[in-house]
Amino acid sequence: MAIVKTERHEDLPPPVSQTGVIGWMRENLFSSPLNALLTVVSIYVIWGALSSIISYAFINANFVGETREDCTGTGACWVFIKARFGQIMYGFYPVEERWRVDVGYILAAIGLFLVLSDFVKNKKWPAIYTFVVVPIVCYFLFYGGSFGLEVVETSQWGGLFLTLVLASVSIFVALPLGIVLALGRRSTMPIVRMLCVGFIEFVRGVPLITVLFMASVMLPLFLPEGMNFDKLIRALVGMSLFSAAYMAEVVRGGLQAIPKGQTEAASSLGLGYWKAMGLIVLPQALKISIPSIVNTFIGLFKDTTLVLIIGLLDLLSIVKAGTTDKEWVGMATEGYVFVAAVFWVFCFSMSRYSIWLENKLHTGHKR
C-alpha cells in the first residue's frame, strides 16, 4: 500500500543550540581540552601585547606640553607629533596658504564619497566631477599662480599632503594605463603586443627605487637643455609607470579568467572589440581582480615612502627629519609609530572598501 503524506510540514525556526554568549564560547573556544588550552594561551599572549601597547601609547603617554621636557611619563611622547603636526600634515606649505590644501581635501572627499558609495545610482556626473573637475581644480589650488593665488612651489609640498598627492595621482594613472597595457599584451597585433610586453617586463624587472632614481637623475641628462621637469612630476611619472606595469599583470590575470564564450557571445551580437571589452569582459575581469587591484593600490600607497631617495619630503621622510632635530633626539619610536598608524588607517580603509565592493557586485546565487 502506498504511503501518502497529506499534511504539509510547517516552517520552523532553525535550532537554537548556538544562542547566547556562553553557548557560543563553549562551542568555539572550549570545545575540547586542547582548544581550551589554546584559548587560554592566546588570551594571555594577546593581553600581554595589548596591555603594553595601550600603556605605552595611551595610559603612560604624554599629551600636554610644548617641548621635550614636558614628557615626564614613561610612555610615548606625543608632544613631539603635536609640536610638528603642521609640518607632518603639510610639509613646508606656507601656513597662511594651508586652507587651499584643506579645500582640495574636501572637494576630493565629496567626489570620492559620491563615486564609491551607494547613495547615487547614476555615477556619470560624480565620476566626471571626481576624475576631471577635482584634479584640475586641485592643481590650481595647490600650485597656485592664477586666480590671485600665490604660487607654492612643489619643493614646499610635503608630509601627508605630499603622500596623498603621490598616491592618488599614481593610482588614477596606474589603473587605466594598466588596463590598456593588459589589453595590449593580449592583442593580436604583434607590434602592440611586443611594446606592451617589453614595457611591462622591463619595469617589473627593476626596483622602484631605481626607477625613481632614473626618473630624477638620469632623465634630465637625456632631455634637451632648458626642458626640465619638476622633481615631483618626475617622481609621479616614475611611480605611475611602475605601478601601471604591476596593474597590467593584475588585470591580465582577470582577463584570462573570463571564458572565451563571453567574447564570442558579444561578437555574435555584433559588438565590436572595444564595446565587447568595455561592456562585457572588463567589468567582469575587474570585478574578480578587485582583491589584487586593491592589494596593488595598498602596496603603491606604501611605496610612496621611497620618494625620500630623491629628496621629496613625504610623510615618512618629514617625520624622520623631525627626529634628527637636536631638540627632539630620541623621538624615533613615536615618529615611526605615528607614521605606521596613519598608513594603517588608509590601507585598512581601502581593504574594507574592497570587501564591501566585492559583496555589492556579487551577482550569483547569494543575492
Partner: protein
Amino acid sequence: MSEAAMTQTDIDVAIQLIGMHKWYGEFHVLKDINLTVERGEKIVVCGPSGSGKSTMIRCINRLEEHQQGQIIVDGIELTNDVKKIDEIRREVGMVFQHFNLFPHLTVLENCTLAPIWVRKTPKAEAEATAMKFLERVKIPEQAMKYPGQLSGGQQQRVAIARSLCMNPRIMLFDEPTSALDPEMISEVLDTMISLAEEGMTMICVTHEMGFAKTVADRVLFMDAGEIIEQAPPQEFFENPQSERTQLFLSQILHNG
C-alpha cells in the same frame, strides 16, 4: 570568381558556402564545404564528435576564419573587412551550448545590451522589445534576475531571447540542448519549434532527432570535416545512403 558568385546569390538565398576549407594549423578541419540555405529553410546538422559541425556554423558568423572558398551571408561575402563582419553578425543570431549569458548583467540587460549599443535603439524601446521576447520564451517574470539564479533551461531561453532582440534574419544553434538536463530540453526545443514555425532561417547542430523530424527541411550529416549526406528528414532517417550515416544513425538511435 567573386562576382560570379555574387550574381548567383539570389534574394532567396540566405547563406551560401562555396568550396570552403578550413585548417587549424596543419589539421584540415573542414574540407570543401558546399551548402546553400534558402531563406526560411531549417537545416539540422548532425555527425560524430569532432567532425567539424561547430566549426562550420561558427565560420558563418566569423567566430572562426575560413582559409579558402567563399561564404556569402545575406548577399554579403565574408572577408577580412571588419565592417562587413559586423554587418553580418547583426543579422545572424547565435545560441551556444553553454548559453554564454553575461553573468554581471540582469536578464533584461542581457537582452537590451546589443540593441542599445549596436542598433542605438532607445532604452525604453529596447526594454519593451526585450520583454516581448522574454514573454515569447515564457520567462518574463525572470527579467530582473541574474543569469546565475536561473536554471539551465531558463538560461538557454534567455540566450535565445537575447539573440532575437537583435531581430536577426538567420539563427545558428550549436547544440543548444546538450548541456541541459532531460526535463529542460523540451522547453528549449518548444521555443525553437515556435521560432521555426514563424519562418526563421535556422541552422541547428543537434542530436535531437525528434526535433529534426518535426522542423527540419533538410538534415546534414558531417564526418571528418565533410558533408557526407544531406536529405529531407524522412529520407535521411528512413533511407540513409552512405554507410557512415547508417552507422551513425544506428548508434544514436540505439542510445537515444
